[in-house]
Amino acid sequence: MMELNTQKMEDFKGRHKYFVVFVGLAFFLIFIRLWSLHVIKGSELRHLSENNRIRLLENLADRGMLLDRRGRVLAHNRPSFEVYLVPEDAKANPEVLAKIAEMLNMTQDEIEEKIEAQKGRAPFRPVKIKSDIDWNELAVLESNRVNLPGLLVDVRPRRAYDYGDLACHLIGYLGEADENELRQSKGPPYRMGALIGKYGVEYRWEDDLRGVDGGQQIEVDALGREVRPLGVVEPFPGNNLSLTIDLELQKTAEEAYQDKNGALIAMDPKTGRILAMVSKPSFEPFARNISTEEWKALVENPYHPLTNKGIQGQYPAGSVFKIVTAIAGLESGVINPNTPFPCAGTFHYGNRDFRCWKQGGHGTLSLHRAIVESCDVYFYQLGLKVGVDLIAHYAKEFGLGKATGILLPHEKPGTVPSSSWKKKRLGVPWYSGETLSFSVGQGYLSTTPLQLLMLISGVANEGKLLLPQVVEKVEDIYGNVLKEYPPQEIGRANVSQKTLQIVQEALKGAVNDPHGTGSACSLKEIKVAGKTGTAQVVALPEDFKRGDMNRIPAKFRDHAWFVAYAPFEDPKIAVVVLVEHGGFGASAAAPIAKKVIEQYLGVNPSPPQKTAGEENDSDDAD
């Protein structure tokens, strides 16, 4: 052990008296304060403590409203009447409980249970016995108020979604803030039990929507009745959000789904504004802590009602992806619009047969007809010539394989495979046979519906990619614009205008030509361009016949895709439709897209046009 230093110890001794004086002074201050509280203000404060009826009441702020693009209210706050009882007052008169129970359609036991549960509360503190009572109950209570001592009715704002499950995935839901959220809040702290946005726009714009809660200290008399407020902080309502969606269009889109599941997104390709966003099945939006059973039912539902499939669902793109393969072929110079490939219904590669959806084959065809009729064999051959990495390159040019950056939670990036991706991910080299599936949108490829919407919008919009946006602006309650979300270009696919024109013409043909696979979406007045697709859920046996689709269990049936934009000459709307387990893109998805386009462009709905005798042709298999 080292020797201890004893130099300059006298310094310490010299300071002793100063420290003693300092400590003395400090405690003298405390002594004065103690004297003033205990002795001088003693009796006054004792009086206050004996009559301590100062309570804290919170005044909740109104949450900001959600409006559609034309200012129609999608979410607002309605007054909710909460009934409280001060048990001490009610006890004096036992009939009161029975009366209240009758008026609220409850049993007396239920009320007593609620009081019992709050046993540890301070005396005269009200107990909530029923929340959100209806108008009839309120009227009865109010008219009998004088006979019901101890009864209190409090008004609080409660989130209301007037259109039920309309656009529920976009709007989101509220729930009680958990411990993490209480701690991490950036703005003023949340109180325990505060309802905060948990999903969708309600979640993403929480800081704008929440407003500032107020509250007051109130003095109450011996019976718990309010005497006077002492300190009041007024609540300040949250800001209103103008969404980009259109109420009517959203309704049309949701109705078009009937009982089918899937996702639909419609967007203005030139601004990136989302016009409708549907995910099915939907849920009833809620603004409360839902019970464990309800939550379990939602989460365990095999059709995933809580998932916004438009941005969270990842599916093979199916034939929609042929757009990318075609662009890769044209841009790389591997083909020109006239390069022919033969289709005999199957394509033999390696030791296996790759089938075209059309059993007899398409004969020899070039690019235009190959897209119009969605010939698989053509694209197998094209894909092989172009190669996996070049196709992947053009897929990425249009934003596939990464999240678009839409301001909604949980967006998924999808996957665009390439030879290096496979080597890194799976440790084995790419097999050229896999290029065949890839060039028709199967295999490792997975995309979200939003990404395919970006693809079709990019094609429609000369390669320009705009950030998909769901909120146009944020305004405070006085109408001052606080934030605006102008269109934002996030990229430009490096593809020549010539190539895009060729593809656009082919997509127009797919809807309007006699043998086009997307004819179920053709309109008389307006030219629509589009592409069907079918995404395999499970590999079907090689001898599988098209007609067998209805015989396999629904959950193994293919997903149906349709992407489209219109009008062809000057695109105003782009749509992606996914029908889960819908079978073929043409029959299941295209009619839904048609209804949405008709509604948005103000075209009179027309009966589905049937191309006589060629029903099979208008379907698309892979």
Binding site: T6, V23, L34, S43, S49, N52
Partner: protein, 366 residues
């Protein structure tokens, strides 16, 4: 290790007596103040007794180990405490909610409490070499500042403003004790003062608001203002003689915030009145003055600074806590030694007392 017989003859019974007296009052007071608080397992006062016994055992052990041993290991102990703080931050991020605590088996403790002691050890170690005649100058102080800022930053991150403030105040108290040049002290003070408006501009609006209400709780009638008002009502309503044991309405009816920890003194004032408040304050004054005497009578620099650091820690805890409860100071979460509920805190306080005993009984040795 062989224990010198003289240790027993010089054992500081006065110090031990004061500590035990305050601790007993603490248990009694907690029994009443926390009577209505529902807990998991044993009632709070029993848990506090459990921690008190552990603390007393630690105190006695620490008192009988020669302090030269502490001098040798001061920086190592300091480093371990820092690592524990880091652990708590990392661990806390995963479990969320309780970033101040480390759990070992069924027991959990707050490393920041032990950082206070290890920080004092490290300071004593550093300053045991005297400065020149004029005192320490800024040039000699980068290491002590580092010793201060590392744990302070980690503790602020938790966030635990109270403990960080105690570290800062203990640091400056020790600087004055070991004789820092007045010019250097002035320079530090002016730099600190000049930095405030600059830092202020970096803060966002709501952060500024938080700080303003922090200094003026009346601006927040629903939060700090309400608590403070109830605390003052509690103390004052005790009058001269108090309402009597177990008869405090403010604490029993749940009007007091944190009545078992930071606001325990208001429960005392309510039930025991001016007489009780003054008696307990008197005991603290006695403890602090006695501790100061131990510091200046110590045989060497290390033990003197060590004892002084412990006294400074006790003083600032008592002064700020009581000042806060009585509404003389902003509400900072600082507990009251030996009265507030809290296992780690009572153990660390008693470790401090053990160090004081240690120095006190060895002043005639070597």
């Amino acid at each position: 290790m062989q224990i010198d017989r003289r240790l027993f003859t010089h054992f500081d019974w006065t110090l031990l007596g004061i500590v035990l007296l305050i601790a007993s009052i603490g248990i009694l007071n907690l029994y009443s103040a926390a009577a209505k608080i529902e807990t998991v397992g044993a009632p709070l006062y029993l848990k506090q007794i459990f921690w008190l016994v552990i603390g007393l055992a630690a105190m006695v052990t620490i008192a009988f180990v020669e302090y030269r041993f502490y001098s040798d290991f001061a920086y190592i102990v300091y480093t371990i405490a820092l690592v524990l703080l880091l652990l708590v931050l990392a661990y806390g991020m995963i479990t969320s909610g309780a970033q101040r605590w480390v759990k070992i088996g069924p027991l959990s403790f707050q490393p920041s409490e032990f950082v206070k002691i290890s920080f004092i050890l490290a300071l004593a170690k550093f300053f045991h070499r005297p400065a020149d005649r004029k005192g320490y100058s800024l040039k000699q102080l980068p290491l002590p500042f580092l010793l201060l800022l590392l744990p302070m930053a980690l503790i602020l991150k938790q966030p635990d403003l109270g403990t960080a403030i105690v570290l800062l105040l203990v640091f400056f108290s020790v600087l004055i004790f070991v004789k820092i040049r007045w010019s250097s002290l002035l320079a530090i003070g002016m730099t600190g003062g000049a930095a405030v408006p600059v830092l202020w501009n970096f803060l966002k609006g709501y952060q500024k608001k938080r700080i303003i209400t922090f200094f003026n709780p009346d601006l927040d009638p629903l939060g700090a203002g309400y608590h403070l008002m109830q605390s003052k009502i509690a103390v004052g309503s005790g009058g001269i003689l108090g309402k009597g044991f177990m008869k405090g309405t403010q604490s029993k009816l749940g009007f007091l915030p944190e009545q078992q920890t930071d606001f325990i003194f208001s429960a005392l004032g309510e039930e025991w009145g001016l007489i009780g408040s003054l008696f307990v304050i008197g005991l603290y004054v006695a403890l602090i003055l006695w501790g100061l005497r131990i510091a200046v009578q110590a045989k060497d620099r290390f033990s003197a600074i060590l004892a002084f650091g412990v006294v400074a820690m006790l003083f600032w805890h008592v002064f700020i806590n009581v000042g806060m409860v009585l509404g003389m100071m902003p509400v900072v979460g600082i507990p009251l030694p030996l009265l507030s509920y809290g296992g780690s805190f009572i153990v660390s306080t008693l470790i401090g007392a053990g160090l004081l005993l240690n120095v006190s009984m060895r002043r005639y040795l070597f």
